[in-house]
Amino acid sequence: MDTRTNEEWLRDLRGENKNQAIEDLRKYLKKGLIYALSSRIKTDLEHQVEDFVQDAILRILDKLDTFRGEAKFTTWAQKVAVRVAFTEMRRKRWKDISIEDLLPEDSGDFTPLVLSDPSPDPEKRATQESMLQMVEEILKDDLTELQRTALLAIIHGGMPLEEVAQRMDTNRNALYKLLHDARKQMRNRLMEKGFSAEEVLAVFENG
């Protein structure tokens, strides 16, 4: 199925054999996506995959100049098709859900943190409460509202990064950077307060 060299793929997709090359690429991407997505898409798999492949081919043709040849062309193209498919699947799955739907109750004006499942052991519960207060201070004072909201939407709400990014009018890469900065900030503030993340974690392990 993949009998062309990288140079042949690029030459054919740009030249006289374009239609045949696109058709061959379509078959290749479709086979791979059906194999990869059959456990995730239960209805109308073939039709959905055809739509993904159609969009992927447009993107591949548009980005052809960015292929640097450090892997097989078909591996690169299949990567683009997987990205197209997952972006669309996530968009469909999360389309009616806002970030506010996912945030913990009362997070808007940042009411004090309360543990919904405190330890039954009074001594441990007291330690949890004091750690919780410290985490709350860091979330409230050291993170921006954007960082706090994104962190909670992803970790508490389970929303994928790109869906949060889209709702915040940014992109997946920029949001990752925002969250990376937030995690570093939290780590540094914990250290300044004399704790490590491991120590805080231990307090919330096993109830």
Binding site: K79, Y176, R183
Partner: protein
């Protein structure tokens, strides 16, 4: 604001594994096809491209796409 200990633990786990230098999603995506070919050829991709492996370990959407791409490419080896 009510949070479960599970959420606090997830936040702390993400803080615990934070590195000063991390690949962002775009960089990971740019290198993913090379990483996966190393993997498929039986080489130690994680050792050759540790920052990609690190990003895949901490970023669920990128990991999900990596696993699906691995599956897709298996369609041509079976």
């Amino acid at each position: 604001m009510k949070l479960s200990s599970e959420t606090i633990k997830k936040i702390m786990q993400s803080v615990k594994s934070t590195r000063d230098e991390e690949l962002h999603c775009g960089h990971c995506y740019d290198e993913l096809h090379q990483f996966i070919e190393l993997k498929l050829s039986g080489k130690n991709a994680a050792e050759a491209m540790p920052l990609v492996q690190d990003h895949l370990d901490r970023c669920p959407p990128c990991r999900e796409e990596y696993e699906a791409l691995l599956e897709a490419l298996k369609a041509f080896s079976e």
